[in-house]
């Protein structure tokens, strides 16, 4: 069972793509590498969101709340005391997981749009806090982080790629495991899952913690890659929207599709940059067309074609 799952087509294809991606630094420019590095971190954000939406059935409008907590906690700690970078990142992850718990509490009480709103409010609160506590966080100008993991763009690229690969493997494995199945059941019909003797609350809380863990870790790593943190790159609602669109575009309930969607979004946005304001317009229009006409997302389209032939 486990061996068979290890060699299923999606896993094999992902492995081949990962290996190919790992050789990219040999023949593309540093500019493309930098773009892909960011895209890979967004891929992890989207995967972590998909775990909550696609499996726990919780619509989290505040992925950037978790990301921002991770990035800012790590960044502030580094700019204040300069401890080892690993310690900063660990603190960021911890803050993000606490944030995950804070988000999960209303989720266990309220449903649907109400829960979506509390998460949105969490983002707005964090954003306001960052702007008001400007002495600590750099406010609207942003926070400068003195240390970076590496200044070599190839090393940074491989770190991001490896991190995305490992996160994807863990999240994908988790959703295919018995625990993932229980989580899915708790999401779709909490009453029946409870009646079957599963602890719905425990599984949902775990899903929030896992999602927060990866969001916070990716946020902290990305902050150390950029050497700066600002509201616009980590917390703003538009960042969260991009994460959500990435996951829906790639194909919800697939984990792996989220990476595809996020990379696609970043690549499309960047290649249209010469068009200025129109770039965002076109990216949103393309995303809207996919949502309206191919609701299963990019991965779903590929699957559909394969099933049809």
């Amino acid at each position: 069972m486990v061996v068979r799952a290890l060699f299923s087509p999606p896993v094999l294809i992902s492995l081949v793509v990962l290996l190919l991606a790992a050789t990219l630094p040999l023949y593309v420019s540093g500019y493309v590498l930098g773009l892909l590095t960011i895209a890979y971190y967004f891929g992890v954000f989207s995967m972590a969101w998909d775990l909550l939406f696609g499996f726990a059935n919780e619509v989290n409008f505040g992925p950037s709340f978790l990301i921002g907590l991770g990035a800012y906690t790590a960044g502030i700690l580094d700019s204040l005391y300069q401890p080892p970078i690993a310690l900063c990142i660990a603190a960021g992850v911890l803050a993000s997981m606490i944030g995950g718990l804070v988000l999960a509490l209303p989720a266990l009480r309220v449903r649907g749009p109400y829960f979506g709103l509390t998460t949105l409010v969490a983002v707005l609160m964090l954003q306001n806090f960052v702007v008001v506590a400007a002495g600590l966080t750099g406010g609207e100008i942003g926070l400068t982080i003195p240390d970076v993991i590496s200044i070599n763009d190839k090393v940074n690229y491989w770190i991001a790629l490896g991190f995305m690969g490992v996160s994807g493997a863990i999240l994908y494995g988790l959703t295919r495991s018995p625990v993932g199945l229980i989580l899915q059941a708790s999401g779709q019909d909490p009453v029946q899952a409870g009646a079957l003797g599963f602890n719905v609350t425990k599984h949902k809380l775990a899903a929030f913690l896992v999602s927060a863990f990866f969001s916070g870790l990716a946020g902290a790593l990305m902050a150390f890659y950029l050497g700066a943190a600002s509201v616009g790159t980590f917390i703003d609602v538009t960042v969260g929207v991009q994460v959500i669109i990435g996951a829906v575009l790639g194909g919800r309930r697939t984990i792996l599709g989220a990476v595809l969607g996020a990379v696609f979004l970043v690549a499309l946005g960047e290649s249209l940059r010469p068009l200025g304001d129109l770039a965002t317009f076109i990216v949103s229009a393309v995303a809207l067309v996919v949502v309206l006409f191919f609701p299963a997302g990019l991965l779903g389209m590929v699957k559909g074609v394969r099933e049809a032939t």
Partner: protein, 291 residues
């Protein structure tokens, strides 16, 4: 002196919030859709009125009418191109339709916003007020436009109330919000009701957008915050309850004005957010929510 100032300014702002939120809550109450392109439609109306009067030299009434027309067209486009398509879609599972409509209307809102930014730049624009001059109320110098805003807001809400409660078409709308199947059973085409509600929504959002453009000015950046504030007012008041959102609009409007005057304009939106969080924890269905 400052007390009266806060009272008057807060009243005008709150009336505007109330009108903006009324359309939003109407759409949710009747069709069950949370329209995240709300702010963008309001901004589009204001910018259209601004462009008509400033760029193309139309009179201020014609310009306002044009703005409302733009909002009406956009609202109907939202319904026909996006909401209806997703509601009838067979590829999306029933329980997932909500998130799909949310995502799609959000993308649609971003498209409108970016189109405005591209065509008219994202500078702030102030629509030429229909009435100008200053009036003294209780010793406070108040722009006549502020009074005009409050009057138009309440007149519009009043007309809506009369329509819903006193006319047959309005009663069909009310019935559709309570029991869609029952409405179909007595022989009313549900789709006609929905189209009508979206048209009313377009007019409400348009009027609110233009008034906002005269009062505070708008830019394409205001679309997101406008949607967020309508959303939080509606949730605070209770989803689908029009009277709830009217009360909530005043609570939020006065909280913001008080904070802006007494503490600092930078902290303006924080108390309302805190209140919202508190309400979500203590009474998740909002002040006058039905569930």
């Amino acid at each position: 002196m400052q007390f009266w100032q806060i009272l008057i300014d807060g009243f005008a702002i709150s009336s505007l919030y109330a009108l903006g939120a009324t359309g939003f809550t109407l759409i949710f109450g009747v069709t069950g859709v949370l329209n995240l392109s709300h702010g963008a439609i309001m901004v589009a109306a204001a910018v259209a009125a601004w462009a008509a009067s400033g760029e193309w030299g139309a009179g201020s009434y014609v310009a306002a009418l044009f703005g409302v027309l733009v909002a009406l067209v956009l609202a109907l486009a939202t319904y026909y191109l996006i909401v209806r398509r997703l509601q009838l879609s067979r590829a999306v599972r029933e329980e997932e339709k909500e998130i799909f409509i949310l995502t799609a209307t959000l993308l649609w809102g971003i498209m409108i916003q970016e189109a405005i930014a591209y065509l008219f730049t994202n500078n702030a624009k102030t629509v030429l007020p229909i009435v100008d001059g200053v009036v003294r109320i209780l010793g406070v110098r108040t722009p006549a436009n502020e009074i005009f805003t409050a009057v138009v807001c309440w007149a519009t809400i009043g007309i809506l109330w009369l329509f819903v409660n006193k006319t047959l078409a309005g009663k069909a709308v009310l019935a559709a919000s309570m029991n869609p199947r029952g409405v179909t059973l007595v022989g009313i085409e549900l789709k006609t009701v929905y189209v009508g509600v979206w048209a009313i929504y377009g007019v409400l959002a348009g009027v609110a957008g233009i008034l906002l453009g005269m009062f505070l000015g708008v830019s394409s950046y205001s679309a997101g915050p406008l949607t967020a504030s309508a959303f939080s007012i509606v949730v605070l008041g209770g989803l689908g309850s029009v009277s709830g959102s009217l009360i909530a609009a005043y609570v939020v409007g006065y909280l913001e004005t008080l904070t802006a005057y007494l503490v600092s304009p930078a902290y303006r939106s924080i108390p309302a957010l805190l209140l919202l969080v508190a309400v979500m924890y203590v009474r998740p269905r909002g002040l006058l929510g039905r569930r």
